[in-house]
Amino acid sequence: MSPSLESNLFVFALAAFLGYEVVRRVSPQLHTPLMSLTNAISAISVVGAIVVTGAGHSTTMVVVLGTIAVTASMINVVGGFLMTDRMLKMFKKRKSD
């Protein structure tokens, strides 16, 4: 097993465990915003798409696939965060009277 694969597997296992423990504590009231927020966060794959698209030596096909990938994941980033915040803004406590 190469050193990079080994460290990647460690990172994956620990991140999955961290995710499990953190998400378990999320109030069921917020399960929809949770799904929309984790989806926006996993759209961090945009950085991979940027690297693939921006590499100077790429063939046309790689650039086309990369550009579609950047567009799709960036929609996910922008839309995901905006929609999550729009939902969370509506959760209010009773106005004190």
Binding site: Y20, P28, S42, I50, T71
Partner: protein
């Protein structure tokens, strides 16, 4: 590092090196900070009080990571990236800000499709760029990335189509469906294995892609509308795992972490949904729905149904001190959440205590009902989850059930022979009076009659979920 250097490196070292090596230290530190912000973001989501800070943390982490990536030395060609950013921002803003809250589930399904497509396409691009010189472990990661990415892409599109009711929401079944689905999955896995064993083969990879796309459709098409909360959660998990696999391919730990967080979140949510319906994953994905035995409903309902009108309901509510409202899927369909919000305000202004009892599968995705009620200005401390409100029902004078059926069916608790036996329910039948707002006595998703409707303390208010509430408000205001 460019391709030429990479090939020279391979030749010099006499072994295969990863193509994306040696990231500058400052970028690594920014990625590390972003990973921590992502974890913090989910932690702050634990309560509505801090949740918006969570979004901000996620946004800062994301922005920092994207900007740092744009400054990587290997990113040289900006024109297509900027064009893609422009298109994405113009497309995403109306999607996120204009969509009605009832349509959030299909919007999230679309976001899953976009995220999964991105992961799958990057995997494909990487394969075509470097596939013939990749290590076996990287090829395996590309296999997972493509399988999960492409199946989540088509699966999410089908789910969005069902939620938007472009596609039929009934389960679409045909003979040998499971045999066919599993054969296609097996064929995809075999094609994926061939991609790993004979890298650089130009014929195998497109076949692999086509099989994964097809399997996504076959997996979701047979699943009915009632199981959508589980399906969306499962696709959420797959979308995350495909992003994580992409991190293995590109040797990028930030991607691995971001994807793993979504992967475990989707996994937890789908487990909660399965538990709330007392079903297993396998049963949701491959279980055929049993034919409805509607014939027996006459024995249960015959002569025992008491019907009420708005005036009578208003009089009952006027005399109550504690009221619970149990909203279901039908409330979202009738768009009755704002009317219910008005009823809440009116009752509270008359010192009647009102709580909402929310079953985990109410709505079309996990937590959907809470979002709809929050939009109708109901304070979140009045939105009670099932386990918290169940012991309270016996102290409630009146329970109003609006658009829910199976989740308040006492057979699930009392009748071990019922098809939904063991499914956790809201014990509304323990309350003083139960008022069920429903168009007719038609069965819910489970296709079975509900003995609650014939119970001594139950009154049926046959009307549209929104009109019934508005009429009741009008009658209450006369009192």
């Amino acid at each position: 590092m460019n391709l030429l250097l990479s090939i020279m490196g391979v030749a010099a070292a006499g072994r295969l090196l990863p193509h994306h090596a040696a990231m500058p230290a400052d970028v690594i530190l920014i990625y590390l900070a972003a990973a921590m912000l992502f974890a913090l973001s989910l932690k702050w989501l634990s309560s509505p009080k801090t949740a918006r800070w969570g979004v901000l943390a996620g946004e800062i982490g994301m922005a920092a990571a994207i900007i740092a990536t744009l400054f990587l030395p290997e990113v040289r060609n900006y024109i297509w990236i900027l064009i893609a950013f422009g298109i994405a921002i113009m497309a995403a803003i109306p999607m996120a800000l204009l969509i009605p809250m009832t349509a959030v589930p299909q919007q999230i399904a679309l976001f899953h499709a976009f995220g999964a497509l991105a992961a799958a396409l990057v995997g494909t691009a990487e394969y075509y760029a470097h596939g013939s010189s990749m290590q076996t472990s990287t090829l395996i990661a590309i296999g997972f990335e493509s399988l999960l990415g492409y199946l989540t892409f088509t699966g999410s599109l089908v789910a969005a189509g069902k939620l938007q009711e472009i596609l039929p929401t009934q389960p679409m079944t045909y003979p040998f469906q499971n045999v066919l689905s599993i054969s296609i999955l097996a064929a995809s896995v075999i094609a994926g294995a061939m991609v790993v064993v004979v890298p650089g083969n130009v014929v195998v990879f497109p076949i692999f892609i086509a099989l994964c796309l097809l399997f996504g459709i076959m997996l979701i098409l047979p699943i009915g509308g009632g199981d959508m909360p589980t399906v969306i959660a499962l696709l959420n998990s797959y979308a995350g795992l495909s992003a994580s696999a992409m991190g293995f391919v590109l040797n990028n730990k930030l991607l691995i972490i971001g994807g793993a967080l979504e992967g475990s979140s989707g996994f937890i949510l789908s487990m909660i949904m399965c538990k709330a319906m007392n079903r297993s994953f396998i049963n949701v994905l491959f279980g055929q729905v049993q034919a409805a035995k509607a014939a027996k409903s006459d024995d249960i309902y015959g002569g025992n149904i008491k019907s009420v009108n708005a005036e009578e309901v208003a009089a009952i509510l006027d005399g109550a001190r504690r009221v619970a409202i149990v909203p279901g899927y039908g409330l979202a369909v009738a768009q009755a959440q704002h009317a219910v919000g008005q009823l809440f305000e009116l009752l509270e202004s008359r010192s009647i205590d009102v709580q909402f009892g929310i079953h985990p599968v109410a709505g079309r995705m996990p937590g959907h009902m809470n979002v709809l009620l929050a939009e109708a200005n109901i304070p979140y401390d009045h939105l009670m989850e099932m386990d918290r409100i169940n012991p309270e029902f016996e102290n409630m004078d009146v329970v109003i059930v609006n658009g829910a059926n199976d989740v308040v069916n006492p057979d699930a608790r009392d009748n071990p022979n019922s098809p939904i036996a063991g499914m956790p329910i809201l014990n509304v039948d323990k309350a003083g009076t139960v008022i069920v707002i429903k168009r007719s006595l038609s069965p819910g998703f489970a296709g079975i009659p509900n003995p609650l409707f014939a119970a001594k303390n139950c009154l049926m208010f046959f009307a549209d979920g929104k009109k019934a509430v508005l009429d009741t408000i009008a009658e209450l205001e006369k009192l």
